[in-house]
């Protein structure tokens, strides 16, 4: 690397000072009772990223998504009017799940049990021998969840009556930035999925700090470590209500790439350039959307990660790399394959320490965990979610008193 091109790096430790410095209660990362409060206070009430508009290209397109933390199966449907709607995948007759396919195209949904027939808008269209019921069809529509999208990303909220508008929840800055990411224009994606014995925050936090990179990714992350920024820390942090961002340090060591890597990465960069994806202000920004989603900028493509809690000590992750338009040439396809496999390779390196962290937590031997200034995003997630848990507990106690 050219010495003249090197810039001084100062870790932005002062940007996280406002978050405090207290040790963090370890229980929040393994205790079933705490998780139960989080489930109700956070996951059953917040907007959750669940898919991408490219999965629902035309009227009648639908996807089914399982939200295990709520025992919920959700259908997202594009209506004849082109509007996205969300429903519980539960027949209003006697609760049978309507749809078994994970995705597809339909004119409506017919329950396999007694053939109740629902429209794409969730209304009950017909039901055999309906005269024998003691019901009006208008009262038998599928139960709705709130659905909205931003920057191509689809979000649901399981409490439609109390959900703020999605754009209000995300705030002006994030709405503006998300709309400018390549993900907002994406037409296709590659995906891998995992289940892991780890609390959702423990799992998610691994991707919120750069402190571990040098130790867990010494080879795969080699380009990130430079003499002026040996930990590969971000250059700045941003806090936006419950959400947070960080800006990656752009001065990577390009000489760390081997000739084969340079050839493939070079092709990827060329295609991103041709599609007008570079330069883009979102290319090295990381968007952590509360509670469990992040989008990770890179010059050629963006990748996302959603961490779904399964229990206090287990989670499921969905990782996607989004692409704008189909590959036009063999090199472009090769570059996409390579980006995908590198993300999966690097991520695999984290799995061992995340599992080991949960095992350590489960022993109950630690009362507290500790976050340093450059682990401020992890602290912010804890502060925000813990405040919601405490608020929920106050509410619940209040209700108890009144009763």
């Amino acid at each position: 690397m050219n010495v003249e091109a090197r810039m001084a790096f100062r870790p932005p430790v002062d940007q996280t000072a406002w978050l405090g410095s207290d040790p963090i209660p370890a229980k929040a990362y393994y205790d079933p009772e705490y998780y139960e409060a989080e489930r109700k206070a956070i996951f059953c009430r917040s907007w959750l990223q669940i898919g991408h508009v490219c999965e629902l290209p035309e009227p009648g397109s639908f996807i089914r998504r399982e939200l295990e933390f709520a025992d919920a199966s959700i259908l997202i449907v594009r209506g004849k009017d082109d509007v996205l709607r969300g429903f519980h995948n539960v027949c209003t007759h006697r609760a049978t799940q309507l749809v078994r396919d994970a995705e597809g195209r339909a004119n409506g949904f017919v329950c396999p049990y007694h053939m109740w027939n629902f429209g794409l808008d969730g209304r009950l269209r017909s039901a055999p021998d309906f005269e024998n019921f003691f019901l009006a069809k208008e009262d038998c529509a599928l139960k709705q969840v709130a659905v909205d999208s931003c920057g191509g990303l689809i979000f649901v909220n399981l409490s439609p009556a109390s959900a703020p508008p999605l754009k209000e929840f995300l705030g002006e800055y994030l709405v503006d930035r998300l709309a400018r990411t390549p993900c907002a224009r994406a037409t296709e994606f590659s995906e891998y999925v995992y289940e892991l014995d780890a609390n959702w925050k423990l799992d998610y936090d691994n991707f919120q700090e750069s402190y571990h990179l040098k130790f867990i990714h010494p080879r795969s992350g080699a380009a990130t470590f430079t003499p002026e920024n040996p930990f590969g820390y971000p250059e700045s942090f941003g806090f936006h209500g419950p959400h947070r961002t960080q800006m990656f340090w752009p001065h990577v060591d390009v000489d760390a790439a081997t000739p084969t890597q340079k050839l493939i990465f070079g092709a990827g960069a060329r295609f991103a350039m041709e599609k007008g994806l570079m330069p883009n202000p979102t290319n090295r920004e990381y968007y952590a959307l509360f509670p469990n989603f992040f989008l990770f900028g890179s010059p050629t493509q963006h990748f996302s990660h959603t961490v779904y809690p399964l229990s206090a000590r287990r989670s499921r992750g969905v990782i996607r790399i989004y692409w704008v338009g189909p590959a036009q040439s063999a090199s472009e396809m090769l570059a996409r394959e390579y980006s995908f496999l590198v993300v999966r390779d690097v991520h695999s390196e984290d799995v061992g320490v995340i599992r080991a962290g949960q095992r350590g937590l489960n022993s109950g031997v630690l009362e507290h965990l500790h976050f340093q200034a450059m682990e401020g995003l992890c602290r912010h997630l804890f502060n925000v979610s813990n405040a919601m848990v405490e608020e929920y507990r106050r509410e619940a106690a209040g209700t108890g008193d009144a009763a």
Binding site: S190, E191, Y192, Q261, A330, M333, S348, E349
Partner: protein, 115 residues
């Protein structure tokens, strides 16, 4: 091998790797890498890496949609080379541990499946 020509002209050096490495899907390529021995990976990498640039030039002379069966096999081989490159050049002796950890990451969709 029955001596049949499976790849475009100029890539005869890779004919012996087609049966083992030219898998059509990303998940199959990832699985093949994880199941391979160090010797298999090194032999494939040593043969294929020097031909990567020529393969890209050959394959890019036509739109992706117009590649014939031999071209697609060459493309599948070059994508497999990407997987093997990570093993041979990056993880090196740590590859077996990495393979075990990658098992948890189940590939559910890929834009570079050739099927």
């Amino acid at each position: 091998m029955n001596g049949e020509v499976c790849l475009p002209a100029g890539f005869a050096a890779l004919e012996g790797f087609v049966a083992g490495w030219a898998s059509p899907t990303t998940a199959a390529r990832a699985a093949r890498r994880s199941a391979s021995t160090p010797a298999e990976r090194e032999a494939f990498f040593a043969a294929a890496a020097p031909l990567l640039e020529a393969a890209m030039a050959h394959l890019d002379s036509r739109p992706l949609a117009e590649l014939d069966a031999a071209d697609k096999r060459l493309l599948a081989l070059m994508m497999a080379l990407g997987h093997v490159q990570m093993a041979v050049e990056v993880h090196r002796e740590m590859e077996p541990q990495h393979a075990a950890l990658r098992e948890a990451m189940v590939i559910t969709r890929s834009v570079s499946d050739l099927v």
